[in-house]
Amino acid sequence: MRHDVFFAGYGGQGVLLAGNLLSYAAIHEGKNVSFFPAYGVEKRGGSAMCTIVFADGDTGSPVVGNPSVSVLLNQLSFDKYAAKVKSGGICIVNSSLVDTSHIDLPGIEVILIPMNQIALDRGDVRMVNMVACGAYIEKSGALQRSSLEAALKKALPERNHKLIPANIQAMVAGAEASRG
């Protein structure tokens, strides 16, 4: 089974960390993984995106034109990438920052989650990426939550390990919100 997911947002939203986290989780489950990042030269505020492909066998192209799942965290990335989701695919959108009313997406399941609000309710808006990861694994069924918990230890520097419980809570909240 081959899974691919595209994450995009602006720099500072933790898009690349989310991609790293999913990659570590997939490795934890014995998969082969490719993680292809692209970001602007800006430290904050530029565009950030990444494509993660994981499979039991060959991951194939690290670049995907029409992703099975896209997780879009800001307006710019929604406007640019929502329509590229594969027919029958899933588009998970941060409705705290994105207005989706102007784009019609026939054949794509659009999941609206107020990710900023959920992260804020749990204490820190910077956990928006964890909310997104939780929603992704819930909707795709591609990875176990326990693998993401194990991945947090690998993806985060040790000084931040004290934040892992709060991040797991944010993930759980994202998963719950995606069930509607």
Binding site: N20, F35, P37, S61
Partner: protein, 360 residues
């Protein structure tokens, strides 16, 4: 970094190059930072001193390549890395190394050019890499990884091949493979039988036979002899060391050919085309020099239609055309850098369909 050799690690392509070099026994690195390869010096600046090695951020790329020449002349395994603009500066030193028959590994993580170009993915250093790049008429071994695993494995191989053949070896990567992360098995260094290091500078007053490292051949007939000797060596290299990957070529009516990251994307496009019932295969050269000419010749005895895909306006296609049978056609699809995006498998699938129909 201590790792269990059986456990997969998750690293960037550039880091895999550095790790492969260390595993191959490289203990000296000389370089100057440039995007998109700076993770290589960053990693080695941290790790080499811990291993008793030497990391030097040189004053320039020219300084770095000449340090590589000097280190190689002492018999240690050494490496330098850069991207296009820096690799151009290194050409004089590479030519001197080739003229001195010194081994050494040079990594080019290609970026857009000419000139300062940009940091987009590009494969436009193919000609420079495979034609020697510097003056005087020489070739270097060129290996083209298409995964992070191959960044690790081919860097190790580059050291061995360079020692065995006494020819500088280049790992020709691009910013896609350099910057992406993948799960990698950190394989142990292969147990290759290596030659005695006859190239090492030696000769003291106590009568030890002298070996001078030089590329100046002024004796009567000396230079000509060198060139014929090297030609024979390049020919033997081509006989013994060509490496490539074929995917579903046996019944293919169209063979896509590409190297590096492009081959990786093309491979998925080929799989998509096969699902759609199109008889297409993939030929990916792993050694760009020596180029696997005989394989192309054999493939083209049966399949008369090739499609070369490159992140340039067409360079490897020259070698493909020189290798295939005369009655075979080679079409081209190029994506020179600067489009702001890479070709997708979907896009290459469209090209396969178009070319397949055109010749059907």
């Amino acid at each position: 970094m201590s790792t269990n050799p059986l456990e997969k690690i998750f690293v960037k392509g550039n880091e895999a190059v550095a790790m492969g070099a260390i595993e191959a026994g490289c203990r000296c690195y000389f370089g100057y930072p440039i995007t998109p390869q700076s993770d290589i010096p960053e990693y080695l600046s941290r790790e080499l001193p811990l291993l008793g090695g030497e990391f030097i951020q040189a004053e320039s790329e020219i300084g770095a390549i000449n340090m590589l020449l000097g280190a190689s002349a002492t018999g240690v395994r050494a490496m330098t890395s850069s991207s296009g603009p820096g690799i151009s500066l290194k050409q004089e030193g590479i030519s001197y190394m080739a003229g001195s028959e010194l081994p050494g590994v040079i990594v080019d993580v290609m970026r857009a050019g000419p000139g300062l170009g940009g940091i987009d993915a590009s494969q436009a250093d193919y000609w420079q890499a495979t034609r020697g790049g510097g003056h005087g008429g020489y070739r270097i071994i060129v290996l083209a990884p298409s995964s992070v695993q191959e960044m690790y494995d081919l860097t190790m191989l580059a050291f061995d091949l360079s020692d065995i053949w006494r020819i500088p070896a280049m790992v020709l990567a691009d910013s896609v493979i350099g910057q992406m992360k993948e799960s990698v098995t950190p394989n142990p260094r292969p147990e290759t039988v290596l030659p005695a290091k006859e190239w090492v500078v030696r000769g003291r007053e106590d009568g030890e036979p002298q070996n001078v490292v030089k590329s100046l051949y002024l004796g009567d007939g000396e230079m000509e002899k060198f060139h014929w000797k090297m030609l024979a060596r390049y020919q033997e290299l081509a006989e013994k060391e060509c490496r490539w990957e074929e995917v579903q070529t046996s019944d293919a009516e169209l063979i896509v050919t590409a190297f590096g990251s492009t081959a990786r994307i093309a491979k998925t496009a080929v799989a998509m085309a096969r699902e759609a019932g199109i008889k297409v295969g993939l030929m990916r050269p792993i050694t760009l020099f020596p180029f696997p000419k005989k394989t192309y010749a054999a493939l083209s005895a049966r399949c008369k239609h090739f499609l070369a895909i490159e992140l340039s306006t067409g360079q490897m296609i020259d070698d493909v055309r020189l290798s295939v049978a005369r009655d075979a056609d080679v079409d081209f699809y190029g994506r020179p850098p600067g489009a702001g995006s890479l070709p997708t498998p979907e896009e290459l699938f469209e090209q396969i369909k178009k070319n397949y129909r055109a010749r059907a």
